[in-house]
Symmetry: C2
């Protein structure tokens, strides 16, 4: 009985080196750690399925990093600092060991970049597509975590980075859109969670969330959270040069940018008097921020004005798994 | 944009009523809660896939409860009290709403029984088998969490409840074994995590884990954790009346009981001088405990003595997802 069976061999070899002190070398039934006094715990979980959230042939290191980064984006939206994560991996029995090695290498790279460690998880087989989940734990000074509920009439609508790259990147990665530099596909495969910016938003943003299901739909969540409405100007929504070129060539892609999802940028409600503080915070961490509209009194309505000032008719609100 | 799309409608309707105060009504990017001072956090995650960990046609309330209970069993093995959980659910787009309703009803029942609440998670579609994951959070007085590493030569090997029902129950549930009363299939579908017993084991057990991958294999983990070996007597391993009858009719099933997994009982190392304290703790929460062998010096070897005193040759060590 001294032989370690295959499942445990894989875990020991590839995942144990990723474990932090609380992970107990992944050798126990659970992880144990002592929360720092004066801080709240912030916890989120996301699942990803091959063929739904990533392409089955995507490199395993990028799959791992996307999984970790979508969760880091949730922490960023709450203004929380990363602590650690638990991971479940369900893949086919014939998955080559190189896949696990690549997957673990991706996690190691992002652990170093974002400062967190593996705490535990589970590795199982599945006869179906690879199915992954990650639960992330972070912390924030007690009472300072950002919420979706604070937007007030008159607050401005701000976004970080550029919008639409992820949605266009999926088209590019599947051969439906020209992407000579690979920039758009790269933005789809490797989100850039705005953790550093999120940590500077306490006292600046009245509400925050990350844009994952499409700008317009997610802005609807902020409106419902605050009991307000919002008007944004399509011409103000920041597009990357690659996205702007794609939209110039095919104007119908503008709607894809506004509604398509996979952005992992921050969407913020900020009182006008704090705009300078927001700009300073963003500059301090090298992230662009752009004002795209304003919240107003009203019943959770989102209106998008087109370049001519008229409301854009949008056929699709955003991504939903169950239409 | 006021319509809530299908995914969010499902979450709001079925899962939001399960959310505790920290879950922020599942309306935010993450959950926030304040850990109690003087306690460590204990965190574990498990995944379950239809056709691997449960039968695709199992009732959804029992699938949900098994998922929650396998994680509660991990907390029990650490001696931790449940706090809350995060859940990811990936199911086919055509999953009927009644499935979600049943799944949520199962969670509600066990939340009431074990005293914990939903903190957050993710619901996605998959073209493959249903794929579920759950991360559980618990707490223990700082420094008291049970570990797998403390077994010492001379400590006794103890188990809670009965062994083998889960493995025989899978045979029964798939029509391969007679199970007139349904007891065995019930044990497979609805584990009984020993949370109350786990909370009483600080100062009694030197090492603990839950039996999920088979008694013999899991005992091997305790041996490796403590750098010891173990000898157990097959005749001492507690079988339920239903399992005992099945083994009497087909002696080959004894190995299935010892190596088959899905028991979710506690496996303990206990110094002989604390046996009375263990019995008292078990009696206080209405759980049977049985001494089945002893740890000894040596290199992580597990020996199982058969009824005739000779070592039993076991063909399979236990369950592994990747042989």
């Amino acid at each position: 009985m001294t032989a370690v069976p295959g499942e445990f061999g894989l875990i020991y070899k590839h995942f144990r080196p990723l474990a932090g002190p609380g992970g107990l070398d992944l050798g126990d039934d659970a992880a144990v750690f002592t929360p720092a006094p004066g801080r709240d715990l912030v916890v989120a979980a996301d699942a990803m399925v091959a063929g739904v959230h990533f392409l089955p042939d995507d490199p395993p290191d990028l799959i791992a990093r996307k999984l970790l980064r979508t969760n880091l984006s949730d922490l960023a939206a709450m203004g929380a600092a990363p602590l650690g994560y638990l991971l479940t991996v369900s893949v086919r029995r014939d998955t080559p060991e190189a896949w696990f090695a690549g997957f673990a290498a991706g996690l190691a790279a992002d652990q170093a970049e974002y400062g967190l460690a593996l705490l535990g998880g589970d590795t199982t087989s599945t006869p179906g597509p690879a199915s992954l989940s990650l639960t992330i734990l972070g912390s924030a000074v007690s009472g300072t975590a950002l919420r979706r509920t604070g937007a007030r009439p008159g607050d401005e609508v701000w976004v970080s980075g550029t919008i639409g790259d992820g949605a266009l990147g999926l088209l590019a990665a599947t051969g439906q859109l020209d992407d000579a530099t690979g920039f758009l596909a790269g933005r789809y495969r490797l989100p850039q969670p705005r953790v550093a910016l999120g940590l500077r938003l306490a006292g600046i943003a009245t509400a925050a969330m990350d844009v994952s299901d499409g700008l317009v739909q997610d802005l609807g969540h902020l409106c419902r959270g605050g009991g307000v409405s919002a008007v944004i100007e399509a011409a103000l929504v920041p597009l990357s040069p690659a996205a702007a070129a794609a939209v110039a060539a095919a104007p119908g892609l503008l709607e894809r940018c506004l509604c398509g999802g996979d952005d992992y940028e921050l969407l913020l409600a900020v009182p006008a008097a704090r705009a300078a503080a927001l700009r300073a915070a963003a500059a301090a961490c090298g992230v662009a921020v752009t004002r795209i509209g304003r919240f107003a009194a009203g019943a959770s309505e989102v209106t998008v004005h087109g370049p001519d000032g008229a409301a854009l008719p949008l056929a699709s609100g955003g991504w939903s798994h169950f239409a």
